[in-house]
């Protein structure tokens, strides 16, 4: 029970972090039809910006400023980069973001070095919030949950209750018609791209000190976020939310459930030993394949149900 509740909370924290990254990517992906490989790079850049800023002006200012900087970066990328390669087709756009992700990783290595930087949790939040059967739950995780819940609420309200949100929704599905009605669709695209990047940056700010801030963090996070986006379905923020939480829970629970197929077979009376054919495969425990689960899921979803959980059209 103790393990279950703690894992549930941790999974929720991780899932919300994933959602913060994936929500922006879902919007960008459904709008432009382009998978933005540089999205996770914005997450990394956000964490590094926050680290540097927090050295000078403190965490709380960084929490506001770093995402804004990331958003500006995103707007610049969209206006001067993506828009220019747009005429060469989707593959060119995809490759552009791919090259960008490569460059950003190298630039980060050049600027902050090859090893992880000591980006720490702010001391004001560095205390255990409550005890659960002897396991402490840090206040910072609660803070992460709070920030991401606030973000979810504001995106949802912004998209459904405001005028600009309605224009974005219209531009998502019918860009030509929205343009014909006099809305500046390219500017809407830039705005969404910038906002998505800023959200990824925010995820970096609050995730960078929860996990590790190092140059490899974009490439380890990127594929997982793709999985979430595909799993949730194109153009569906709700699907994205469910997929994020599910992914967070799957990955957290897979780590604590120390079972293998051999254990399952043992329940039915088959005892697997080293001599059994395929024993190597059968004896792999769940925590070891935890990192694999998202990709198995990705392949299965794309083959069996390309539109994802709640998507409106195929990937």
């Amino acid at each position: 029970m103790e393990v279950f509740v703690v894992s549930l909370l941790n999974g929720l924290v991780y899932g919300m972090l994933l959602f913060m990254l994936a929500s922006g990517l879902t919007l960008i992906f459904s709008m432009m039809g382009v998978l933005n490989f540089a999205h996770a790079s914005a997450y990394m850049v956000g964490a590094y910006f926050a680290y540097t800023l927090s050295l000078y002006v403190g965490f709380w200012v960084a929490l506001i400023v770093a995402p804004i900087l990331c958003g500006l970066l995103g707007a610049a990328i969209e206006m001067w980069g993506l828009r220019r390669v747009h005429k060469n087709g989707h593959i060119a756009e995809l490759l552009f973001t791919f090259g960008l992700a490569l460059i950003i990783e190298k630039v980060v290595q050049m600027t902050w070095g090859l090893i992880a930087v000591p980006y720490r949790i702010p001391s004001g939040l560095d205390f255990p919030l409550f005890d659960l059967w002897g396991t402490q739950f840090p206040a910072y995780r609660a803070f992460m949950l709070l920030i991401s819940a606030l973000m979810f609420l504001s995106i949802w309200l912004g998209l459904t209750r405001t005028r600009i949100g309605l224009v974005i929704q219209a531009a998502l599905t019918h860009p030509d018609m929205a343009g014909a009605l006099g809305h500046n669709v390219p500017r809407v695209f830039t705005m969404v791209f910038a906002a998505g990047t800023a959200l990824a940056g925010l995820a970096g700010v609050i995730g960078g000190n929860y996990r590790v801030t190092e140059p490899g963090m974009a490439f380890s996070m990127g594929p997982i976020v793709f999985v979430v986006v595909v799993f949730g379905g194109l153009g569906s923020l709700t699907g994205c939310f469910i997929a994020s939480i599910l992914m967070g829970l799957i990955q957290t629970f897979a780590v604590v459930l120390d079972y293998s197929l051999a254990d399952l077979l043992e329940v039915f009376g088959f005892v697997v030993t080293k001599a059994t054919p395929g024993s190597e495969f059968l004896m792999v425990t769940l925590p070891r394949i935890a990192a694999l689960l998202p990709f198995i899921l990705l392949v299965l979803i794309l083959v069996l149900r390309p539109r994802g959980l709640l998507g409106t059209r195929d990937t």
Binding site: V34, E280, L298
Partner: protein, 438 residues
Amino acid sequence: MSTQTSSAAAMSAPSFLRRHGLWFFMLALMLVLPWVFYDHEKGRHSGFAITLLSEMALMSIFALSYNMLMGQAGLLSFGHAVLFGVGAYFVAHTLNFIRASGLPIPVELMPLVGGIGGLVCGVLTGYVATKQRATAFAMITMGIGELLTAAALMFMTFFGGEGGITTDRVVDTSIFGIPYTRPIQVYYLIVAWAMIAALLMFLQTQTPLGRMANASRDNYERTQFVGYDPKVIRYWQFILAGFFAGIAGGMYCLVYEIVTFDTLAAVKSANALLATYIGGAVGFFGPIMGAVLVVGMQSGVSLHTSAWLLYLGVVFIAMVIYAPGGLLGLFANHIPIARMGRLGELVVPYARILVPGLMMTLGFVLFVELTTHQTINAAQGKKFSLLGFAPDPGGTMVWLSAIVAMIGGALWVRHEGRFFMAKWNALIEDAKARGIVA
């Protein structure tokens, strides 16, 4: 198109040499190059050069097989290295098996064994991947790539975990009696297989399958109306690409005699993608140029700077924005102007763009090198130097001149670029008026 081919076929023997001269040129180049780097004092070949050339040859085959998907069928794969890696593992196990059992399987056939490995892997993974196309295909291949890389670290028997599988190519089963103890012997074996594989891949572009792959790339709906199933086309194309990627993997195993999970990993796939795109996916020989360039940068430039991947990335991005046809496309763009005999008129515009271009590049390189020195190299106790100069990396003047050269050069390039484009467009318009270019 049809009139051209028939008239070309009617031509006599000398035109055969002219039309396929590039093949003979490549073969001659590959045969001669090791002797350029021959060390006469020690009486042996430069080991570094031989390894570099072998790597170039095998990466060329890998990139060509990648282009069977990207260029020919319009399928962007992010997990092509899986086919390469499995081919390499197959060869490593086969060599170990030969050593253990004494079975006389010739070493010369090892790349073919790798090809079969790649083929098997292509049949299995391709069945899943080719169910979709475009972005979904790219994602599935990425997923499969990550899956197999992780699996390679997990399953010891086949993949050998983190240490990989080591092997020994000297098993004395050669048909020609060559021991393959010296790298140069392996190099010539690789040249032979590279030529065979490249030729087969070229011939494949002429087959109905190759043509239909082009058709499904350009208009996949109409392909269905004509009566073909794009899924089947994609699947076959994927399997064949797997075969050739496996051959490249087999060569890799022969050269290095160790196969680790790196051969399956995303970086390897990205290398194939970069090589193919930079070289040019539009023509057959583009990926070879790209592979030579990428391997050259990987092995040559990386000796001098740790930022080589950054340079490669910048070149790649510049290509995506300005030259979607890659290096080959850049050359091909000049053909109509050359046909008019007016290539000379471009000399001045090129010269005018070259100076600020060099300035910008040097400024950028200096800036990047200074930055890397401050963050990475200085900690390792390395001295700063660039092209023989060794300025004080802490000095204000160095930084200032780097930034000025970079930004000033960029603005100047932009200015000259307008002049260049005006001249270029005028020439192309002229070519259009004369009916040389459509």
